[in-house]
Amino acid sequence: MNNYRSVAIKAMAGRDLRSTLFSMGIYIAIALGLIVASIMLYTYVGGIMENGLDVMPSSETETRYYSERQQTPEPMLGPLQWAVYIGAVYITLSASMSISRERDQGTMEVLFYGPVDSIAFVVAKFLEQILAFGVILLFYIGYFLILSKVSNFALGIGFFKMLILSLLLAGCMASFGMFLSSMTRRVKTSVILFLVFIIIFLTVPVLHSYFMVNFPGNVKGVLSVARQVTSYLNFLVSWISPFSYLQRGTVAILLSSNIEFIKSLVFSLLYTAVLLAGSIFIFNKKGVRR
């Protein structure tokens, strides 16, 4: 990478990170993630106190794809997963506004009079999101270490694998958000797009699971069409939704499958690279002006 470009990336990423850390948004997102984790842990402890005991599966006990009975995952893994989801959604929202906001406010045009090009700009924005997520993770790690020490809940190897995976999820989410942002000229449009996609990503797998489990393969009529349509949609979502990449990795962790885990890491990196390249391409097409 050219020297001027790396200087520009550092400067822009540093500036944006400071701006993020000096705002309340990131702390509210962290607190929300921890609140969800706390609710789950509070429930676990309450259940154990009420019933005298509970058996909690660790990394290898979850059955593939779906678990047979409603069982709690490794006690620290489930809460971390949900906290990561919330942190990642914040990162996506932030990323989805990053490019469109600068374009909307006209600051982008000013920036490009200096030694800044599209690659430097997109990479800097991406780096800033990853660093911000790193800060979120630091809070999460501190929280779970303290609670593990206090509660005696085990921190299994799955927990640490999930931390690595979550960084890559953040990469996927940030690149996805930036891809959306690069396509729009206004912040409002970016946010609407973000919300639409998040709703689609979260509802399609649920609908698909509902139709598959509750209606047999030989069902006829509308239900048959619904099964088919949700199958196609779910397949599509499983490749374009950043959540799916975390889900794949989580399944790999639960199965203790190192090969699947590494595959999920590679897929996440590929996803990130493709979307970043797409963002740069669209950015160049659309230009820097409002």
């Binding site: 676990y44 309450g46 154990i48 005991l53 058996v55 909690m56 990394s59 509660s151 809940f153």
Partner: protein, 441 residues
Amino acid sequence: MRKYAYLLLVVILLSFGALAAAPEKVEQVVTNLLLFDGSQWTNTISPQEYPTFYMLADADNVINPTRTMVYFWPITQEYMADFYDMNEEIEGTLIVSKGNKVIAELEKQDYVFSYPQGYYGGRPEIVCGDDAHKSAEKYRSEVDAYYQRVIKWQQAMTDYEIALDEFWVNPEAYKGRESEIPQEPKQPDYPVYYATEVQRGYILNLEPGTYTIEIDGLPETKRTAVVFSPRRQGIGYDIRPEQQWTVPRTSNDLSETVYISGKQTLYITPYNGIEVNRYMYEKIEKLPSEISGRGGELLYFWMVLDYVNDASLEVYKDGVLLSTVAFKQWYVEQTASAALGYNIIEFDPKVQGERAPSFEGFKVELDGAGRYSFRLVNENGEVISESERLVRSIDPRSRFFALVLPLIPILVGVLIWIWRSSLSASDKGTDKTSKVTTVSR
């Protein structure tokens, strides 16, 4: 009277309607299946509508192509065979193929199911060939011997009653001769060993894979056998807390952790288990059903095969052996008051009489502090693999921390906001640029 006559007519007409609802039977060749489910054999059929059946690998399964009458029973959504109406077993050589390669040509064999520990105890075994006849003969001879003993016992009972009558004529006469007082003869026990009658069928024992089976030259007997293995197998536990003995928690995997709260008394019952695909396993038990296995294609579950009662349990605390516990039977005794309550006591047949034990297992008492583990040890003192479990005691104070810790990020955010506000307040009205410029000069 006429009213009742009309009523009767209506009932008769309605009953004809009900008869019309009888399912239509169709003559066809089904494959009668006796499939091993991990602990015993279960009977189902593979009609033409369900040409693919599922069976466990490396186990003897019995199949019998049979011509019979088949009908669909809408209430339970399954195909059924009426073997009373027609039951013609098809003879011939059974060809087993994998892909295009014939891997076996089988003839029918004699077989029996034998129950060495009795019909209601222990696992049955399948015995084939000449041994099948020996097993059936062994059961018959044991039953014959039993009836011989019964005849002798009945004679002995008659003699006993006569002797007892004599005794009651003058009991005083037996003073000093107590050993001559008539003793009631013990009723003979029915033989424990049981074996079924000798039957004939094709015995299939295959490795995992998909196979085609067919009686040579009879395409209507063609079926597909999907042979599968359990995904995992090992020792599982039913763990009962003393205060909820009716709600055992299961632990099927080595990596599961048992969390307890405070001082606990646990009753732990070990079992051998296999983890199998739900769809395939349910199809072993009921193949031609629309409902069985539905939605279970991607599910795996642990199936309890049999309980382990010939081992002892070692309990460790912080890595040091705390105790070795023996397997016992337990009886739940309700407390003698109107209020609900119970005590779990060791089962004693002399005290509990004809009653059965409530459950069996190891009693483990934990004081609630530290980290525990337990594992099974067999009669030779060897640790049974996959039997270890960790037990951790949960600190209730963690609930307080769970409530407080999420506030910390908010606090950090607020502190940063206050700091930033104080900075902007102190900078108000100051020309920082000129100030810096002055310093540099």
